[in-house]
Each structure stands twice: as C-alpha cells, then as structure tokens.
Amino acid sequence: MKGSLRQSMTWLHTWSSITAGWILFAIFFTGTLAFFRAEITHWMQPELHVSTPSENSAEVGYQYLLNKAPDAKEWSISLPTERSETVSVSWRYGNERGREQLFAQRSQLDASTGEDLAPRDTAGGNFLYRFHFELYAMPRWLGETLVGIVSMMMLIGIVSGVIMHRKIFADFFMFRPKKKLLSWIDGHVLASVLALPFHLMITFSGLLLLGGTLLPWNGNGGGHGGPPEGGAPQERGGRPAEVVNAEPIAPHINHSALLAPIMAKASAHWGVPVDRITIKNPGKENTTFTVSGANRVELSAGRGGNSGLVFNASGERISEDPASTAPNTTQAVYNYMDMLHQARFADSVTRWLLFFAGILGTLMVGTGSILWVEKRAKKQLGLKGFELVRGTNIGAIAGLMVATGAYFWSNRLIPADMAMRSDWEVRVFFIAWLACVIAGLLRRDRMGWLWQTAAAAALFSLLPVLDVVTSPVGVPDALRMVFDVACVLIGILCWYAVVKLKNGGKPKRRSAAANRKPDADNMKPVRPRGRTKTEQPA
C-alpha cells in the first residue's frame, strides 16, 4: 500500500473486496431474496395454496380456536394480508404459576373454510434469510462472526471505493455498453453509486445487528436481535409446547359476532385494515380483544411500533395500546437501522424498492469480482492465483443462482411426506452449489459461464411450469403469481446473458471497411479472425 491516498484506497478497495467478494455476493443475493421470504415460503408450501381470503376469515379463525383450545388463556388470529393467504392462529395455556406459556401452539387455516392445513416441512424463505447472516452448518456465533468480518470489509470497500473514484459525479450516469473492460467498470460504478445510500445503510445496519456477536463483552450476547445471555432462548419455527396445567373447561361465551364490528371500528380509526386479533381470557366475561394493523408511522419505535385498540366483551373500546417509543436517541437510531435492514415495516412499494436496491448491491459485488479478473486477464492468465479466482467467480456467482433454482425445484420434487425433507432441500442447494464451484474451477473460460448461466436460466424460467403442475391449485394466487413472474424475469435475464456469452465468443465478421488497407484516417488495426489469447480455454 504505497503512493498517494487515492492509490492506497484503490489497493484497499481491491483487496478488501476480492477476498470477501464471493461470500458477500452470497450474502447480498440471499439477503435480497429474504425481503420476500414470506412470499417464498408461501410458494414453497403448496398445501397452503388452497386457501382463499374471505371477509369472514376472523370468524373462521375464532371458530377453529373455539373447538381446538376452548380453555386456553390467550388466542391470537393473524388474518390474511398482502403477504399471506391463510389465517394463522395460535393459542397459549396458563402454567402452574398462572402465567402464560412462553411458546404458543400454532396452526395455519384455510381462510374460507377453516380447514387445518398441514404444510410440508420446508425451511422455505427462512433458509435464505438465516443463511445471509449466520451461514450454515457451523455454530451460530461463528457464522455471525464471519459475516460480521466480511461486512466490515464491505464497509471498507464502500468507503475506499468512494475515495478512490476520481470522477464519481462526472461518471454518475455513464454506461458504455459493448466496451469490454470499460463496460464492466461502468456497470460496477453504476450499481455502486446509484444505490450508495442503501449500500452504506445495509452494511452499517448489518454490523449493528451483529453487534452482540462481534462485541460479546458488552453483555448483550446473542447477536442479530437475540436475547441477552441467560435469557429465554430464541424460538425457531414455532415449536409447539407441552400443555401445562390447563384450566378446567368452563362454560364458553361465543363472542364471534363481536369480531366484525370491532374490526370495522379499528379499521375506521386507523384507516388501515386489521391484521391481527389477540383475545385474552376467551369465552369469559372478562374477555378482551386487542386488535392491531399496519398502522406504523415511525421506524425509531422499533418492533413495537404498531399501536393497538383494546375492546371489552361487549365490543366497547376500553383503551388504546400505544405504539412503543425508544427510551433514548441511541436506541432510536438502533431501532431505525434494525427496522430498515429487516424491512419489518415495509409495504409492497417499500419492499420492492429495497429489493431493487438489494439487486444493485448484488450486481455491485458480482461485477466487482468479475472486474478483478477482466483487469488482469492479459497479464496473469495461467497463473495459479488468477485461475483460482477466475474459476471460483463462476461457481460463486452463476453457481449460486443454479443452487437457488435447484433449491426451489427440490421443494416441489422431494416427496411431501419424506422424513427430514427440509434438510434434503438444503442439501440439494449445497450439492448444486458445490458442483457448480467444481465445474467452474475445471472450466474457467467463457463456456464455464455459459453452461452455468444456461442452467440457471432453464431452472428459473421453468419454475412457473413446475408450480402449476405440482400445486394442488393450478391457477396461481397473487403471491404465487409475483414469485412466478419474478422467476420468468430472472430466467429471461439469464437467457439474455447466455446469448451475449455465446455471441461474445464468436469472432466478428470483417466488414468491407475493415478489409480495406488502413489509411491515414483509419489507422485502427483490424482484429484477426479466431480467438485472442485471452479468450482461449484454460
């Protein structure tokens, strides 16, 4: 690291990014998909596709709980939203000390009929979500520490990238296609600079969320929103709990007729529909209904930023459950970053905007890794280190797309009742990825890219067909439709890349002008037919 500040920053940018580039690409790619993890999970559980939201979804949930857990201490009904087509119900019993159980028992119901749907065992979108911050098959603290380290390298890469770029504003909108190295540089700069605020936010907030793991001595271990040391363990996947000391069944008052007017009042109060009803002491005279909706107006309030309304057993509003507020500025900043990173507040528009910025981030990392190879292709071709990076790039970038496509395919092709099927889905993901990395190392030239991109294109563009064939409902609902259309778009982009790769390998035809002898006005040498040295297969 010698020379001027800009030269030093260039060195830092290059080496901090290339060493972390592959894992950063995986983090960005899976993290971007995780913005839609609920939708992905819905697609990956075809048993839920039969559910159709209806106006009486709340009553459907109430009747189910009335039959299933009449003596529970608390019921909760999550209604269909723009991200869910089913009614999700949960219930808790009181324990020996009269307190409620920590974990609730859950069911997912057909929103029209109330039928208990038993979705297949799958990690769904949660696998992609968890992978992006704790990786896989290693202790959680280790995965989070590794992700923390590469996130820090990413932050260094972003800051040094801004400093090293001499004409960051002059080149702000510049993209020169069909210029080989220049096109890669422009693509990398565009993807980086256009969404620079997002890149800074997502990297910095990611580091904040991993603060508990990276700074374990601060007494707030657990990382990524985990509980403090010695606190309650974080629940994964809604594990049902044992029924402890259930209270004797008492005569039950059916309050289902109150639900519609209560929801109407709350909805009119906020201007947004109710999406959750919590009923305490259901069926008793002291029953209370707490309703909440997507009425958040602040991010700094954190996860409790939605306000609720409380109604009594007569359907009268008795109090307002206000949104929580951050106790101090530090907490408010943390909450803001937490909510932004995880998009917990986001409606459809905001979620798509974050997704778009995430794609730019993924492109930034991917083009950066490719740019490293393109820049050195002439000088270092054949050197071991260079060939390693060149081959691994293919497996890490195109291979990850193949692996993700294979993960979705395995979800529908592995029998629904197979033991440990969710583990097998994840195994398919990693086996496909490993195969692609090996294939990339063996075939490091343009053909390596072409084969793997073609595989990804085929997998993604045929996913809608697989969906229609293997789902119990042929016509996709809105959530599935979005997933399928997104897959087709990814497929089209991959096919476009395949065509470009295929044509890029062919020698250009000589034009009549090129066949003329160079004269004083046209001294540009004509490229010879056939492959150049840099295009030779490794």
């Binding site: 909108f173 256009l194 605020p197 991010l299 905001t350 905007l353 974050l354 730019l360």
Partner: protein, 112 residues
C-alpha cells in the same frame, strides 16, 4: 399516485443533474455547456430543488420516517432510469430535455 409523483420528480431532478455534466449536455444538445452563463449551477440548483420537492409526496403518503426511506428508494430507481435512458434511448432524453424539462426550456429561452 404519490409513488408515481415522487418518481417523476426524482427523474426530473436527476435529468437536470446529469445535464449539469459537460459530457452529457453536449451529447444531448450538441452544444457546449460553458456557452450558457451559469448553466452548470442553474441545472444543479434545479436538480436539487426537484429532488427536495420529491420528498413532499413521499412524506404525504408515508409520514416522515418511512417517507424518507421511500424517497431514497425512488431516487435509486430514478437514477437508474435516467442512466439507462441515456445509454439506450438518447433520442427520448433529447426530446424530454428540449420540450418538457424546465432546464431545457430555460436553455432555449436564453438562446433566443
């Protein structure tokens, strides 16, 4: 509706910003930016103003905290759109600039 309004304002803002660049300006108009007195500053001020005004529909639709996030996200989209338009639809950019953008209309008025 607020989303669309915010996006359009951001696009107009970035269009002015890009035209404050000598290379882009001469590519679109065929003229030299230096020939227009205070052209660079005028376009930058206009661009900044449109970007600032674009916060209004975002905040009106989503309240302040979330609105600013939406505004930022739409700026990313607008910047990408302007950049792709320059590359693949330069004729469209030329027509937009000369007939629809305040900066372009101002430039023509000054030229007269």
């Amino acid at each position: 509706m607020m989303t669309l309004l915010c996006l359009v304002l951001c696009c107009i803002g970035f269009m002015h910003f890009s035209m404050a660049n000598t290379k882009h300006f001469s590519a679109v108009t065929g003229k030299d930016l230096d020939d227009i007195a205070y052209g660079k500053i005028i376009f930058q001020v206009l661009g900044s103003s449109f970007l600032l005004v674009a916060t209004w529909p975002a905040i009106a639709g989503w309240e302040t905290e979330i609105g600013l996030v939406v505004w930022c996200g739409l700026m990313h989209v607008a910047a990408a759109m302007v950049s792709l338009f320059y590359t693949y639809l330069p004729g469209f950019v030329r027509v937009c600039w000369m007939w629809l953008m305040p900066g372009g209309l101002l430039q023509r008025a000054i030229a007269r």
